[in-house]
Symmetry: none
Subunit: 215 residues, 4 copies
Amino acid sequence: MSVQKSSQVIKTRDAERSRAVILNAALEEFALFGLGGARIDRIAERSNLNKRLIYYYFTDKDQLFQAVLESAYEQIREREKKLNLQSLEPTMAVRTLVEFTWNYYLEHPEFLTLLNSANLHKARHIQESPNVRALNSPLIELLGEILEKGRLSGEFRGGIDPVQLYVSIAALSYFYLSNNSTLSSIFGRDLMSPKAKSERLSHMCEVILGYVLRN
Amino acid sequence: MSVQKSSQVIKTRDAERSRAVILNAALEEFALFGLGGARIDRIAERSNLNKRLIYYYFTDKDQLFQAVLESAYEQIREREKKLNLQSLEPTMAVRTLVEFTWNYYLEHPEFLTLLNSANLHKARHIQESPNVRALNSPLIELLGEILEKGRLSGEFRGGIDPVQLYVSIAALSYFYLSNNSTLSSIFGRDLMSPKAKSERLSHMCEVILGYVLRN
Amino acid sequence: MSVQKSSQVIKTRDAERSRAVILNAALEEFALFGLGGARIDRIAERSNLNKRLIYYYFTDKDQLFQAVLESAYEQIREREKKLNLQSLEPTMAVRTLVEFTWNYYLEHPEFLTLLNSANLHKARHIQESPNVRALNSPLIELLGEILEKGRLSGEFRGGIDPVQLYVSIAALSYFYLSNNSTLSSIFGRDLMSPKAKSERLSHMCEVILGYVLRN
Amino acid sequence: MSVQKSSQVIKTRDAERSRAVILNAALEEFALFGLGGARIDRIAERSNLNKRLIYYYFTDKDQLFQAVLESAYEQIREREKKLNLQSLEPTMAVRTLVEFTWNYYLEHPEFLTLLNSANLHKARHIQESPNVRALNSPLIELLGEILEKGRLSGEFRGGIDPVQLYVSIAALSYFYLSNNSTLSSIFGRDLMSPKAKSERLSHMCEVILGYVLRN
DNA sequence: TATGAATGAGAATTCATTCAT
DNA sequence: TATGAATGAATTCTCATTCAT
C-alpha cells in the first residue's frame, strides 16, 4: 500500500513536472515565434510530451500563452524583490534599478519577445488574467519611497511620477534590445558588441540620473 | 468626354494604382494583426482586388510585408525632412524632435505594430531590403550638427552620441505607446487619457532636455 | 461479442490499416494521372480518409509518391522471387523470365505508369529512397548463374552481361505496353488485341533466345 | 511604299518566327517537366514573348503540346529519311537503323520525355492530331523491303514482322535511356559513362542482328 | 501582332483541436 | 495521466486562361 501511495505521489509529482515542462517548452516556442507563429506541435516535441496533454493542462493555445506570460512576469518580479533597493542610498538605488533592468532584458530576451506578442494582441491575455495583481510590480511603490527619500535629502528634484520614471527606465533598455536588429541594420553598426552595450548602459544611467538628480 | 474617358482609364488596369491600393490594404492588415496574423484573403478584400494580383505584384506574403515596411519608413522619413530642425535653436530643435516623434507614433499606431512584427522576425525583412540606406534616417547627421551647435553655444553638454540620443527619444515614446495596453492593465490606470498623454510628453521633454542641457 | 468488438477495433483507429489504405489509393491515383496530375483530394476520397491524414503519415506528395514507388517495387520483387528460376533448365529459365515480365506488366499497368512518372522526375524519388537496395532485383545475380550454367552446358553463348540482358528483357515488354496507344495510333493497328499480344510475346522470346542460344 | 511592304514582310516573318520561338521554348519546357509540370508562364519567359501570344497561336496548353509533339515527330522522320537505308546492304541497313535510333535518342533526350508524357495521357494528343499520317514512319515499309531483300539473299531468316522489329529496336534504346537514372540507382552503376554506352550499343546490335540473321 | 493587367477555380499544405482508448 | 489517430476549416500559393488596349 505504501508502494501504491508512493507511486501515486510520484505520479502527482509527474503531473506537476509535466505541467512545468510544457510551460517551459511553450516559453521557448512563443519567444522564438510569437503567439501567432508558435506551433502546438512543436511545443509538444520540445517537451517530449503528447500534444493532447497540452490541452489537458492548458485548455487552448491562448490560455497557454497567458500562463506563459504570467510565469514570465512572476519570474522578473521575483528577481526585482531580491534587489533590496530599500536598503540602498537613493542615487544608488535608481542606478541599480537601471542596471538590473538592462541586465535582466539582456539575459532574458524571451521576455521581450513575449511582451511584444502580448502587445500585438492588445494585452488581451493580461486583461483576462485573474492574477493581474501578481503582475503588478511592487517596485512602483518602492520607487515612490526612494524618490521621496532622495527629495528629502536634497539629492533628487521633486515632482517625479514613479510610474513615468519606471516606464522610462524600462523603455530605454527595451527599445534598444527589442529593436536591435532593425537598428543595427539601419545604422550599419553592431549594437550588441560588448563596447556598444557598455556605452548604452552608461548613456542610460546618465539620462536617468541626469533627470532625477537636482541640477 | 475625354476627361470622363481618362478618368475611366485611371480606374481600371492601372498597375501603379493597383499596387498602391494593395500596399495600403496590406499596411492596415499587418498593423492590425501582425505578420503572422495577417490574412492574404483579407488584404484582397480590403483592396477590392483579386488575391492573385497580390502575388502578381509582390511575389509572396513576406515580400509584401517588406514592401509595406519600406513604405512606412519612407513616410516617416518624409515627415522628418519637413521638420527643418536645422533652422531652429538647438534646444528648440531637440524639443521639436521629441514632440514630433511622440505625435507621429500617436497618429500612426500602425507604424509601431509594424516595427513590432519586424522585430519579432529579427529584422529579416529589413536586412533583405535593398533600400536599407533609404530607411536610414538623415536625422542622425543633422542631430549631430545640432548637438555640436548647442555645445559650442554652451547650452549643451559635450560628448553626446547622436545615435544614442535618437534611440532614446524614440524609445521613450515607443515603449509607452506600444505597450500601453499592458501597462494600463498592470498599473490600473488609463495611459491614453488626454491628461496622461500630456503628462507623458512633459516627462519625456524633461528627461531628454535634462540630459542634453548643461546642468 | 468480443469478436464483434475486436472487428470494430480493426475498423477504426488502426494506423497500419489507414496507412495501407492510403498507399493503395495513392497507387491508383498516381497510376492514372502521374505524379503531377494526381490530386491529394482524390486520394483522400479514394481512401475514405481525411486528407490531413495523408500528410500525417506521408509528410507530403513527393514522399507519398516515393512510398508508392517503393511498394510497387517490393511487390514485383516478391513475385520474381516466387519464379524459382534456379530450379529450371537455362533455356526454360530465360523463357520463363521473358514471359513473366510480359505478363506482370500486362497485369500491372500501374507499374509502368509509375516508372514513367519516376523517370520524368529523373529518379529523384528512387535516389532518395533509403531502401534502394530493397529495390534492386535479386534476379540479376541469379540470371548470371543461369547464363553461366547455360554456357557450361554448351547451350548459351559466352560473354553475356546479365544486366544488359535483364534490361533488354524488360525493355521489349515495357516499350510495347507503355507506348501502346501511341504506337497503335501511328501504325493504325490495335496492339492490344489477343492476337497482337500473343505475336508480341512470341517475337520477344525469339529475339531474346535467338541472342542467348549458341548459334 | 516599298518600305511599307518590306516592313509588312518583316512582320509576317516575325509572326512565323514568334510561332517557332514559342514552339521551341515549349519543347524545352515540356521535355524538362512533362505536360503536367510544364508552365505556360515559363514558356513565355523562355521565348521572351508575351503569354497571351501563346494562346493566340496555339489556343491552349494541350494544343501547344500537340504541336510540339508533331514537330518532334517531324524532326525524327526528317532525319530517318536521310539515312538512305535502301542503298545499303540489308545487314548494314539494320545495323545502321539500330545505331541511328540509339544516337538520335542520345542527342535528343527531350524526344523521350515527350513520348513519356504523351503515353501518360494515353496518346490523346496523337489521336487528335490531324497529321497522324505525318507521324507514321515511312521506315516501316522500307524495313519490310530490307527484310525481304535479306531473306532473298539468304542472310536473314524469314517471317519477321517489320513492325515488331521496329518496335524492338526502339525499345532497346528507349528503355535504357529513359529509365537510365532509375536503373543506375538500382544497379549502382553509371549507365551513361562512355564505356557503358558503347557496351550497350554493342549489346543491342548483337541482339537485333542475332535475331534477323539466319543461323 | 503584341502586351500587361486581372481573375476564378483549384492545389498543396497547415493548424488548432477532438476522439477513442 | 497519457497517447496516437483523426478531422474540418483555413491558408498560402498556383495555374491556365481571359480582358482591355
